[in-house]
């Protein structure tokens, strides 16, 4: 949650900008160097500082101190315990003794400060202006990220003056705009694993709604975009690909391995998958189709044969169907057994064994009729339907007139080929609806 922290409770809190460049003194009071960075362990909800990076006086190389070498943080210095100098190291991983952190470690200034991160609560990309840490029980933990203008003023060293000014002019003080670290997914990546350094977040990336994820991906640069996309699971990837704009979509697909791309395509609704494939260059399209499972491949190849602007090009072959001899009980079983998305389950189509379209029933019918009545007894036979080569415009006219949630599509022999959902119909006429 975004919090407004009043001045009183800030005593045990400290801002990262206040710690940076603080002098580090040893137990004899001699100045050793200045704080350049803090290294934290991501394995916990609020990452604790595990080591401090300093620039030594008179020397060029940066070195690290483990956190437990620190005696106190007060005033404007960080004091070290006696014998701390023995714990200086250039390799921070050697400083892990007191705080056994699991998970990865990151440098706050190097990888978080001034960089973009994903706010999984607001589902957007933000730039980090400052960080907020809590000193409690001997540990210094990262608790909030500062996105606000006040953070910028603090970094510039102007907070005091700006406060005086705004208080004088408007009796107002610019508030802090802090967000809990548990909602933050950093975008720095592990160069060895070529993957995002994942945060143990309350809300993971995959839980963000695909439309919001799409917005986030569109805002990121090419590299970060791939890292975030790769961190998603296959379902989330499929859903998100359906939502991003064309340019981003092509760019994301190009960077996927053949295997992963095929998995995603198999996960997507066939009509969405067909749309996606249409946008790709020929070679890539062919490669991907060949990598699919037979059933899926045939389905897609058939969809891809339809010209753009026809009913066939926007229909999905996924729909629920039953036989006219089935009764309500059996049909309900069929319904329960299917895992189709919501917008194609409003109607259940009645077909014969050759897939010829005979009629349609609705969920409402099923809920009102007794379980042994046969479908044939109440199905609607006089259906409005489209041929595969009918234009998208005709489909739109039908939706406009009858306000159906879906229209069945048949071929020249009246065999059922698929359905067009209302959303797909609208998107075809108003492309901006889909963006």
């Amino acid at each position: 949650m975004k919090t407004n922290i009043s001045e009183e409770t800030l005593k045990m809190f400290v801002f990262f900008s206040d710690i940076l460049n603080r002098r580090v003194i040893n137990s004899e009071g001699k100045i050793i160097g200045k704080v350049i960075d803090l290294r934290v362990g991501l394995g916990e909800l609020f990452p604790p500082v595990v080591s401090i990076r300093i620039r030594q006086k008179g020397k060029e190389k940066f070195v690290f101190f483990p956190w437990d070498a620190v005696e106190s943080i007060n005033g404007h210095v960080i004091s070290l315990k006696p014998g701390a100098e023995n714990q200086i190291t250039e390799k921070p991983s050697e400083t892990l003794n007191h705080t056994k952190t699991k998970g990865e470690e990151i440098l706050l200034r190097d990888e978080i400060l001034d960089k973009q991160v994903v706010d999984t609560y607001g589902a957007k990309v933000e730039r980090v202006n400052d960080l907020h840490l809590l000193l409690a029980e001997g540990l210094l933990r990262l608790v909030h990220v500062d996105f606000g203008v006040r953070g910028i003023f603090r970094r510039l060293g102007w907070v005091k003056y700006v406060d005086i000014f705004t208080n004088w002019l408007f009796a107002y003080q610019i508030p802090n705009k802090l967000l809990s670290w548990k909602y933050i997914q950093p975008l720095s990546h592990d160069p060895y694993k070529q993957a995002l350094k994942l945060n143990v977040t309350h809300r993971t990336l995959s839980e963000i709604h695909p439309s919001d994820l799409a917005d986030i991906l569109e805002e990121l640069d090419r590299h970060k975009r791939s890292y975030v996309f790769d961190a998603l699971n296959v379902e989330a990837q499929a859903d998100t690909l359906e939502e991003v704009d064309d340019q981003t979509r092509v760019s994301l697909i190009e960077n996927l391995s053949e295997e992963r791309a095929s998995d995603i395509i198999e996960e997507m609704e066939p009509d969405e998958a067909a749309d996606l494939l249409q946008d790709l260059p020929e070679e890539k399209k062919r490669d991907l189709i060949e990598g699919l499972e037979d059933e899926k491949r045939e389905e897609l190849e058939e969809l891809l044969t339809f010209d753009e602007g026809t009913a066939g090009s926007i229909m999905t072959p996924n729909y629920i169907h039953c036989l006219q001899t089935d009764n309500v009980g059996k049909t309900l079983e069929i319904f329960r057994g299917s895992d189709k998305p919501l917008d194609s389950v409003s109607y259940i189509y009645v077909i014969d064994d050759k897939e010829k379209l005979l009629g349609v029933i609705t969920l409402r019918d099923l809920s009102l009729r007794s379980s042994d009545s046969t479908v044939a007894s109440f199905m609607k036979r006089d259906l409005i339907k489209l041929k595969v080569n009918d234009s998208v415009k005709t489909a739109a006219e039908i939706f406009k007139k009858y306000k159906f949630l879906a229209i069945p599509v048949v071929d020249e022999n009246d065999l059922m080929k698929g359905i067009i959902t209302l959303i797909d119909g609208v998107e075809a006429i108003f492309p901006e609806f889909g963006e």
Binding site: D114, R127, N129, I152, R155, L156, Q247, S251, E282
Partner: protein, 416 residues
């Protein structure tokens, strides 16, 4: 489908080239804006052919600098403002952006002054043209988007050929031009140095580096297609300087020879009439109007994008005003101030226009230093950092630019 036809690889090359060009060409053409035209006119009218030689090293410097911008854009996929913020922190970014806002404001004022000047030739009052121009520019961008603005004006870029025609109509003495190119001459006065720094500043303006890099990122150019981007940048740089050459030549041939000293681009256009015919004058005026409108659309918008990118504020014309207040606010403010300053009675517009280009020239080395630090950083650029030879050339350019600026400052303060 056209995509299936790849008869020869040469077709493919051209297709990719056409898809990739734009950033370099547009940046170059916006570069020849009102401030630029004024500066080049002054250079020709007040100094004759004697400063033409500088166009050659300037073209070279422009190519080097633009190539770096384009390369950073393609390799990192990020804008320059973004890179500076991530690498140097918010403090440095903040002060840099303030400086950029000031130079861009100066440039914007110059654009509106150009709009006013070009139509005053036809005796239309600036109190009519400037507000109309401001409103037109403001709405054009908000109703359309960055892309549509670029497309509209890219077409208008063809009109820059009017300068070449102007230059030819003036019947220049090509031998004198050749001498001007081949024998460099530079008097050690504040006037000469000021003009030189002005010409440099107007050709290699700081805002261009930000704009070019963002445009390249927008185009999503892949690393393997980078060579086309480079070709785009190089051709753009040549175009700029050829147009500049003809403007200088046109004014040098007519005005300098006749001993007419001018103070504004308007003076230039008017003075051309009796000497080279009124069509020359009209063409000049039309070119000026076109350039000013184009730049007045691009510049404030680009500034708003760059500042919001660096400071982490919401940006984009696809967002509502309430969603991106800083972006729209800054953009509108720049247009408003630009127009207002021009309309303020009694302000010395010539000085402002010219000084804005000089400020460009002074701020430029600062931006270049940042660019050079970033582009030589392996973490950012991977294996695409500058080569040794390139670095030497680049740092040499920076050194020369800085010394020119310092010399100018000292001359102006009458220290040397």
């Amino acid at each position: 489908m056209a995509k299936d036809l790849f008869p020869t690889s040469r077709w493919k090359t051209w297709l990719i080239f056409l898809a990739v060009i734009g950033p370099g060409i547009i940046t170059s053409n916006v570069d020849n804006d009102a401030g630029g035209i004024t500066t080049y006119s002054l250079a020709g009218a007040n100094f004759g052919y004697t400063l033409i030689w500088s166009l050659i090293p300037i073209t070279l410097a422009l190519i080097i600098i633009q190539e770096m911008s384009a390369r950073m854009g393609v390799v990192t996929g990020k804008g320059l403002s973004d890179l500076i913020r991530e690498h140097f922190g918010v403090r440095i970014t903040f002060y840099l952006l303030i400086a950029l806002i000031f130079t861009n404001l100066g440039n914007t004022i110059a654009e509106f002054a150009g709009i006013a000047a070009s139509l005053e030739i036809f005796n239309v009052s600036k109190y009519l043209t400037v507000p109309l121009g401001a409103i037109f520019v403001w709405i054009l961008v908000l109703k359309g988007n960055y892309k549509s603005v670029e497309k509209v004006f890219l077409g208008a870029c063809v009109f820059y050929v009017t300068y070449i025609i102007s230059g030819l109509l003036a019947k220049p003495d090509w031998n004198a031009v050749k001498t001007g190119i081949l024998s460099p001459e530079l008097k050690f006065t504040a006037g000469s140095f000021g003009m030189l720094v002005g010409v440099i500043g107007t050709t290699i303006a700081p805002w261009m580096q930000f704009y070019l890099q963002s445009a390249v990122v927008e185009k999503n150019i892949k690393l393997e297609n980078y060579k086309y981007s480079r070709a785009d940048v190089i051709s753009g740089s040549f175009v700029v300087n050829i147009v500049a050459l003809f403007i200088i030549v046109a004014c040098a041939t007519t005005l300098f020879q006749a001993g007419i000293r001018i103070e504004t681009a308007k003076d230039a256009a008017l003075a051309l009439a009796p000497l080279a015919g009124k069509y020359c004058s009209y063409l000049f005026a039309f070119g000026l109007l076109n350039a000013s409108l184009f730049a007045a659309s691009i510049l404030p918008l680009s500034t708003a994008y760059v500042v919001c990118e660096g400071m982490g504020w919401e940006e984009g014309v696809d967002k509502k005003f309430s969603e991106a207040p800083m972006f729209y606010g800054l953009y509108s403010l720049l247009i408003f101030l630009g127009a207002a300053v021009v309309l303020w009675p009694g302000l010395p517009l010539i000085s402002i226009m010219f000084i804005s280009q000089v400020i460009n020239g002074v701020v430029l080395p600062v931006i270049l230093v940042f660019m050079l630090i970033l582009i030589n950083n392996k973490r950012i650029m991977g294996e695409h950092t500058n080569g040794k030879g390139f670095n030497i050339l680049a740092w040499l350019t920076v050194a020369i630019l800085i010394s020119l600026s310092i010399t100018l400052l000292l001359l102006m303060l009458k220290i040397i």
